[in-house]
Amino acid sequence: MRNPQLAWYVAGPLLGLCVIAVRLLFNARLGVTGGYSEIVDRVRHRSLVFDWRAWLLIGVLIGGTIFALAAGGPDFHGYGWLTRDVGDVWVAPILVVSGVLIGYGAKLAGGCTSGNGLSGTSLLSPASLAATATFFATAIAVNFITKALF
């Protein structure tokens, strides 16, 4: 079954309300990378007592599961251009390396698409605006390059 895509003018404001809720609840930015960071840091110190950032991340996972149960699972097979245009055996290693770049880069930049992109940009933070412009430009360039090469 092909999942219906929620209209952007509903989905976008809902995401914006999540950002506002986190500011009101915790006086903080909504940043998904913060959840990964919290889990890695706690486990590193042999603890499983996580703060709200980790629980938000767990919530995102549960949200994915709830959607899959309600809408009938993902509407795609394989993994985009990687499984279409690159040899199957390379996909998992490429995804691991991509993940390392995503995790390390987001920590260095102090946020990912949610922390800098959504939350920081909506605060008109110069650092987040620079970060957001940079990662959008980079990802756009990478997609055009990979499209030309493969």
Binding site: R29, I94, L118, I140
Partner: protein, 147 residues
């Protein structure tokens, strides 16, 4: 317990919206970044606009406050590194979690990578988050501001 429950609740809404908007699918992200589809940009812009208007109104009411961060080199270099990974995988930290939640096995190597990348950084013991509000105003200061 309550802050964790509240975080979990916001996360669930966030995860359902990310899934419902198709962000879990790498092809949705790729078609946007190749300018073949405008959904991602409209979605993103309307999210930022909603959050921005809401936060500015709340700030005027004295309910919230923040100090915008100045640009440092790491914001650009970090985002360059992040953008490379995002551009190749067409997945970012939120959608990677919804992939796992939806039972997409490709999310597993991505998750392993993200956790390793975060570990490589946090073992240095530096804290970089949050970039945009390094001196958050606490509730008592917000109350003082309103008085």
């Amino acid at each position: 317990m309550r802050p964790r429950l509240a975080g979990l609740g916001v996360g669930i809404v966030f995860g359902v919206v990310l899934s419902w908007s198709g962000m879990t699918a790498p092809d949705v992200i790729r078609s946007a970044l190749l300018f073949e589809d405008s959904y991602l940009f409209l979605f993103f812009a309307s999210a930022v606009a909603t959050a921005s208007i809401g936060l500015l109104l709340l700030r005027r009411a004295g309910r919230v406050a923040w100090t915008p961060a100045r640009i440092e080199r790491r914001h650009v270099t970090g985002s360059l590194i992040f953008g490379l990974g995002w551009g190749v995988s067409n997945a970012c930290p939120g959608p990677i979690m919804t992939q796992i939640g939806q039972g997409i096995v490709w999310g597993v190597p991505l998750l392993a990578g993200v956790l390793s990348g975060v570990y490589l950084f946090v073992r240095r013991g530096e804290e970089t988050e949050p970039a945009s509000d390094p001196a958050p105003l606490r509730r008592d200061r917000a109350v003082a501001g309103a008085a």
